[in-house]
């Protein structure tokens, strides 16, 4: 992946806290304009990686560059082009939303007139213009997150780093937030790096994902490719259910070619196989007079991919 468009280059990046390795020898390149998802459970090293990219944490080894600025040696150069939305962002409670944005604009040395124009456009964009003149302490979590996006965009960054941007907001708010994030790449052509442990939601907007586990990048690539990678290893799990649920059904399932095992998990059968058996399975059971209630290939979802990688890790 030695693409010449790579604007974020991470080489052998390592962070140790005493004996604990938070990020282990990370190598990663991110291209201009893509949405990259850093996925993994809490404590996998996502936030540490982001902090090192911003120069807020000193790496123990290796280096990272954004647009040619070394993240450790030239953090100001990096911060001029990178906008960062911290994990559970917060604003000064006794200032209004507008005042908070103005302060960010001033810190970035943006001319006064431009600040006011940007505030208006951004507030409209994130749907906060109605609440802009309320004190920030009155905002709900979802509103704060939306104002957070506006705050990140105040400096008109080329790269946007979002740490858990969907944490603690309701499904509807999350959907809006994800649309906003996707637009940063599609409409504005910014590079977006988004970290999350909410795999399913975030995969919808990512061009590529990197899966973290215990400080290691265990998989990296477009979701489709990760799926294939797993399929290549003969990992197919099919959830299946049909009525009536009896021994004949079990026999019918077992008789399908390629099925290696059948287990019952949470009210559905899980069939493991080396190839996609959905067609054959449906045909066989319908032929025997069962009515199909549930059929789903598990490996298709990111959560399953994710679980697989962890199983591999543990073994």
């Amino acid at each position: 992946m030695a693409d010449k468009n790579a604007i974020v280059r991470i080489e052998n990046l390592t962070k140790k806290y005493g004996e604990v390795v938070a990020v282990n020898n990370l190598n990663l390149e991110i291209e201009e304009g893509e949405v990259f998802g850093l996925l993994g459970p809490n404590g996998a090293g996502k936030t540490t990686t982001i902090l090192m990219l911003l120069g807020l944490t000193e790496p123990s080894g290796g280096k990272a560059e954004i647009y040619g600025h070394n993240c450790t040696r030239d953090p100001i150069g990096v911060k001029k082009v990178v906008g960062y939305l911290p994990d559970s962002v917060a604003f000064y409670g006794d200032m209004t939303g507008r005042e908070n944005l103005r302060f960010t604009g001033e810190l970035n040395g943006i001319p006064k007139k431009e600040i006011e124009e940007r505030i208006d456009t951004l507030l409209k964009r994130v749907g906060m213009e109605e609440y802009a003149d309320q004190k920030a302490r009155t905002y709900s979590r979802g509103m704060t997150q939306r104002l957070g996006i506006a705050d990140v965009l105040m400096k008109d960054p080329k790269v946007v780093l979002l740490d858990e941007p969907t944490l603690g907001i309701d499904p509807e708010g999350m959907r809006e937030q994800l649309i906003l994030i996707k637009e940063l790449s599609v409409k504005d052509g910014r590079t977006v790096i988004v970290s999350s442990h909410m795999l399913y939601q975030v995969q919808q907007i990512c061009d590529r994902v990197g899966i973290f586990s215990h400080g290691n990048l265990v998989a990296c690539g477009p979701i489709e490719k990760l799926k294939e990678e797993l399929s290549g290893e003969g990992y197919f799990e099919t959830e299946f259910f049909a009525a009536p649920d009896n021994d004949e059904l079990l026999a019918a399932m077992r008789s399908v070619k390629g099925v290696e095992s059948v287990d019952k998990e949470k009210g559905v059968y899980v069939l493991r196989s080396k190839s996609d058996i959905r067609g054959a399975l449906a045909e066989e059971t319908l032929k025997k007079g069962f009515s199909l209630r549930h059929l789903r290939l598990r490996t298709g979802e990111l959560e399953d991919i994710y679980r697989r990688f962890f199983e591999k890790e543990v073994v």
Binding site: T47, I76, P86, S88, V89, Y92
Partner: protein
């Protein structure tokens, strides 16, 4: 071995940050960040209840102490019928019947003002979770400390100058002694010393606020240090001086007394409170021409001393100002190094 290398590397970087004047490519963002932060902090101070409380504390102590000092001066003038040895500046240094002098109040309560203004400067940003957003803007970390410090110093200057002027006004009304130009100069320089003195404590509280995660820990450490420097250091200095340069109570020689006093003075001068009180005494009393034991003896003997000019008085306390500023710089250097290396996590 590898460990040693990284340690060396880090030392070099810290030195680089502190001393090497690499042509700053981001001078503009430094200025913009500084201005924005300074402005915001000032507004924050003016809006805060804490500022009001501190102002109230200063105003009440200032006005009551000057009222009682004024009363004392009046009764002493009417009692003796002469105003010898009393001038406009006496209003700041005279203690009334039940109230200590304004200078004593400032030397004692000044630290509290400094601590109150800064004890949660950084830890507050941390606990409100706004710090990570702040340091992810293109500003240097020391700009954050500098902006907060300068705003605090501005607040302190406003408070101290207005207090000095209000007190002076009340003094003129109560005693009818108008200041000469020189006395006014002395007053102004004394107020500048006061600002520097309180600012040291602001710098100390800023340092604590970035060392400790909790505002309470930071406030308590500040108060502990203040108690130590304001009260215990003096006792400790006595003890050490008596051990190092004992004085024979039956047969005290001048040499013994002077040696003992030198130990005592030098140890207690570690504390900014001592430095400040000594300089305030000299600045506000034109007749004071020496410090410590020597001055006590001169006063006790009622020796007739002539007034010093302002320049001469300044000469005595110039080292004090240097020491006060040097202390501030040391505290700042420590703050920079600690903050620079600190990890900021939400």
């Amino acid at each position: 071995m590898a460990n040693l290398e990284t340690v060396k590397d880090k030392c070099v970087r810290i030195l680089e940050i502190l001393f090497v004047d690499k042509k700053d490519p981001y001078a503009d963002s430094r200025k913009a960040g500084m201005r924005a932060l300074y402005k915001k902090e000032l507004v924050d101070y003016f809006r805060s209840i804490r500022f009001l409380l501190v102002l109230l504390l200063i105003a009440i102590t200032g006005i009551t102490s000057v009222a009682s000092a004024g009363a004392a001066i009046r009764s002493s003038i009417s009692g003796s019928g002469s105003s010898a040895g009393i001038n406009f500046l006496s209003i700041y240094t005279t203690s009334g019947q039940s109230m200590p002098s304004l200078v004593w109040f400032l030397s004692f309560l000044g630290p509290i003002v400094g601590l109150a203004l800064g004890f949660d400067a950084i830890s507050g940003e941390r606990s409100r979770r706004t710090l990570s957003r702040l340091v992810s803007q293109p500003i240097y970390r020391d700009t954050v400390i500098n902006g907060k410090f300068l705003a605090g110093v501005t607040i302190i200057s406003i408070m101290v100058l207005s207090l000095g002027i209000v007190v002076g006004g009340i003094g003129i009304i109560m005693t009818g002694l108008p200041p000469t130009l020189e006395e006014f100069g002395r007053l102004l320089i004394f107020l500048i010393y006061t600002v520097v003195y309180i600012s040291i404590w602001l710098a100390i509280s800023l340092l604590f606020s970035l060392l400790f995660r909790h505002a309470a820990t930071s406030a308590l450490s500040g108060i502990a240090l203040w108690l130590f420097l304001a009260i215990f250091l003096g006792m400790l200095a006595d003890v050490i001086a008596n051990v190092m340069a004992p004085v024979d109570p039956n047969n005290t020689t001048v040499a013994q007394a002077l040696a003992n006093d030198a130990w005592k003075m030098n140890i207690s001068r570690i504390s900014p409170t001592t430095l400040y009180s000594e300089s305030a005494g000299v600045l506000l009393n034109p007749t004071q021409n020496s410090l410590g034991f020597v001055w006590t003896v001169i006063q006790l003997n009622g020796a007739n001393v002539s007034n010093l000019s302002l320049g001469q008085s300044l000469l005595i306390v110039w080292p004090h100002l240097t020491a006060l500023v040097a202390l501030t710089i040391i505290v700042f250097a420590v703050s920079y190094i600690c903050f620079m290396r600190q990890e900021i996590r939400a």
